[in-house]
Symmetry: C2
Subunit: 142 residues, 2 copies
DNA sequence: TATTGTTATACTCTATAACTATA
DNA sequence: TATAGTTATAGAGTATAACAATA
């Protein structure tokens, strides 16, 4: 009987990430875009025009997953597909003004829940999360 | 034009959590239970017999979501439903030996990907993540 | 009546496999 | 042939609304 094994760091970090992810998704009920779409939009904003394949690689999702996310974002008018200069198969994704506005709105509206939680912490705890965000992103291959 | 706004801590933490969550889910292809089931199992292991409602509250999911998770876990023989001593509507969920074995196996097998990533960090970075896991869990209301 | 849990239904997120178009 | 992207399909994860059983 493995009664009360001490949870490892991997175990605790995994559970923490699963739970915070759930809470974050739950905050998006009336948001203009879903959590995954917001993530893709952020990457596109930060890294300039990308092809669908490049964006899929940056987001660490498979190409069909990106195809679906892009369909929603394009339909909502948040990005456009421009022609690729040298390859007819590819295209260049670029944010529209509406897309940039959504990103700006995220900061002010959608992340309010997380902002509030962070505001309840002390400065030392926020510093820990700041460093952790960078480490986690690196581990996740972002 | 909001060109290149500096990402806030909330924004960076959100993206980090989304991406690590994705990577973790991708590691579970041949695991005996899904990521959400593993999370429920861990909570049940740590907090002893619970009713479905209590477990849903602890996991911060809605009751129907827990109903579905429990159906899979019960079918796999990883937990049992015992009678509630004073309320015929409720039942008490308890891990079976097989359920406890799955939790033990998680440590050895399913979290290997994360263990490896953590092993690549230095001790200071692991200490940061250790503290961050506790803070995140508290923020997520776990 | 109020509460606990389940069923019905629907949407998001993601993947693999098969296909199309271009290189 | 090889590569970029899409379509087809399926399964996990989650929610809200409606229902059944018990308190």
């Amino acid at each position: 009987m493995p009664e009360m094994l001490a949870p490892t760091l991997a175990s605790r970090l995994r559970l923490a990430v699963v739970r915070l992810n759930r809470r974050l998704r739950a905050q998006r009920v009336h948001a203009p875009v879903t959590l995954s779409q917001a993530s893709a939009l952020s990457t596109l904003h930060g890294r300039g025009p990308l092809t669908p394949g490049e964006l899929a690689a940056a987001e660490r999702v498979q190409p069909p997953t990106m195809t679906r996310l892009l369909a929603g974002l394009e339909e909502a008018g948040l990005l456009t597909r421009g022609p690729h200069p040298s390859d007819g198969r590819q295209c260049l994704l670029e944010l529209t003004d509406a897309g940039r506005a959504v990103i700006a709105a995220e900061v002010g509206a959608r992340e309010r829940w997380l902002e509030r939680r962070l505001a309840e912490l002390d400065a030392g705890e926020r510093a820990v999360l700041d460093r952790a965000a960078a480490i986690i992103d690196r581990m996740a291959g972002a």
